[in-house]
Symmetry: C2
Subunit: 324 residues, 2 copies
């Protein structure tokens, strides 16, 4: 594999002082709804509101001093952009973020608030790759991809290191982890860590219905694509297909994948509000939705569920709160 346990340990040594060691939460009332004990890894409490800050810090801290001094560039209008922006600020270097003109105003504002330079492109008529390549070459910036980058995967894997510590410290008996999956950086990183620290634990992915490329790819044994990238409320985790680097890891280590409806995801968001007091974004709540509502879950008394992020706007959150 392109990423191994030692890479994750190294990433952890580079970033442990920068990231929040997020708590592993439990709620007796949520357990009652689930019919078993759930342990929720609360990455909305991570800096910038999602786990993406881990991978961003890992990638930037892994650059040579010279490359780091020149800066980084990323294509993203979401959590990766915010993670890169704050990480670059902390490492006192430049971050350019290439975003479509119609990116949501609050995401643009947040990314800018962390000090990044926003470069807009016209979706449809301009190529973000061409614009990015030109800027990277002009300013000597390093492109940090959102998941198909070994240092990023290793950074997300630090969630797994924390989990293994927390599982041991709290004496939990866990055999299953549910984790949301877009490009697969987070789930591949966690699975790689657990394969060494807790080989009896199996990770399963969770995705929105109609965008379950990873679940279908795991079933067929090869990377298959979603029919569309439009139409899900889970914008943070919709990708065309599993990653080139992440899929081989998941194929080797993951137990399979679950898909949940938007309605189930919003109900999970409401339960997280009510019982955990945690703000979750739709893409961040799909694994909780799977834990609560998916059929054919592994028979495991204690389930670890990754809640990956909380960057949601007020209107979407209010909609989830009003769901039955």
């Amino acid at each position: 594999m392109t990423v191994n346990f030692t890479d994750i340990e190294r990433a952890h040594r580079r970033i442990a002082h920068l990231i929040t060691k997020t708590p592993l939460l439990n709620s007796p009332r949520l357990d009652e709804i689930a019919g078993r004990r759930l342990w929720l890894k609360a990455e909305p409490l991570q800096m910038t509101g999602s786990f993406k800050f881990r991978g961003a810090c890992s990638a930037i801290s892994n650059l040579s001093d010279e490359a780091r001094g020149r800066g980084v560039i990323a294509y993203s209008s979401g959590n990766h952009a915010q993670g890169i922006a704050l990480a670059a600020k902390i490492f006192k270097t430049r971050a350019m973020i290439v975003m479509p003109h119609d990116a949501p105003a609050n995401k643009v504002a947040n990314t800018r608030a962390y000090g990044a330079e926003i470069i807009h492109y016209e979706r449809g008529t301009e190529s973000r790759e061409a614009i990015g390549a030109e800027l990277a070459s002009k300013f000597g910036l390093t492109l940090v991809k959102p998941y198909d980058d070994p240092a990023v995967i290793a950074g997300q894997g630090t969630v797994g290191l924390e989990l293994s510590e927390q599982i041991a410290a709290q004496g939990l008996s866990v055999s299953t982890i549910l984790c949301c999956c877009g490009g697969g950086g987070l789930s591949a990183g966690i699975a790689t860590a657990m394969a060494v620290t807790n080989p009896d634990i199996t990770l399963f992915t969770a995705e929105p219905e109609g965008f379950d490329d990873t679940a279908r790819s795991l079933r067929s044994g090869e990377r298959v694509a979603n029919e569309t990238e439009q139409g899900s409320i889970c914008d943070a985790i919709v990708t065309p297909t599993p990653g080139e680097l992440t899929f081989p890891i998941l194929k080797a280590l993951a137990g399979g994948g679950f898909a949940v409806s938007d309605q189930q995801t919003m109900r999970a968001m409401r339960h997280a509000f009510d019982t955990l007091k945690l703000v979750t974004e739709p893409g961040g709540a799909v694994a909780l939705a799977a834990a609560l509502f998916a059929e054919n879950l592994p028979a495991s008394d204690d389930l670890v569920v990754i809640i990956s992020g909380g960057n949601v706007d007020e209107a979407m959150f209010a909609k989830a709160l009003s769901i039955d």
Copy 2:
């Protein structure tokens, strides 16, 4: 004083395995709004969604085996009720909660979900004290008051023990703590702990405008009452007057008190949603409101802010999200 540092240490030894050691959060974007660094003690993540679970566990664990076996009783329709209910369940004993007939349905449901027996009384025509005394005598139950109880104050003081650890571990330079204040159990407990562990740190209270009995009492040197108990959105922290046991502690140790408007409190809730991904209830967010909006705050670069709870219903939360 009725409660000293040793009492808090003893309470901590009794309850540390039951409570969540809540994180001390930071958000660069929130810091920008505040104009200084804020460290947020996130008690919404405590079991039952508020710090009240600490005091409840402390009080129940402090009973003789015989008294604990018989059970406890409390008057509350809010966070104290939920704290007592879950603590009693964990200690496998009985909890009776005396609530007005018109208590909000979700608070009744939550308290019942933790296994407590709810006894309703008619506000105006019945006396909860008389009903409670009759039940206590009939079943041999111990009354656990929400703040004027040394074991409860000591339990809330465990927030202070955690804070002193976290301040040391993160190398923070803090001279001020802002803490919401109803009856004063939480602020008195924290102030008692800090007086020993961090004598250079001063605690200030935060209350809603018009319900700032503690701030006015601290100024006048004696316990004064609010004009009314009605009309604040901060239901969790509206009490007629500072506690009999808590006020002498605050008078000796607190630096003074701040008052904030409902509008400021709702803006603080929205900022906590947006930057911390934390669900806060109005009463739980007043110290954050003071940190962001109060005038004449102590000149302190790093401020510790206690966010005390997140038990808010969907309608109130949606209202806070829609505030300017």
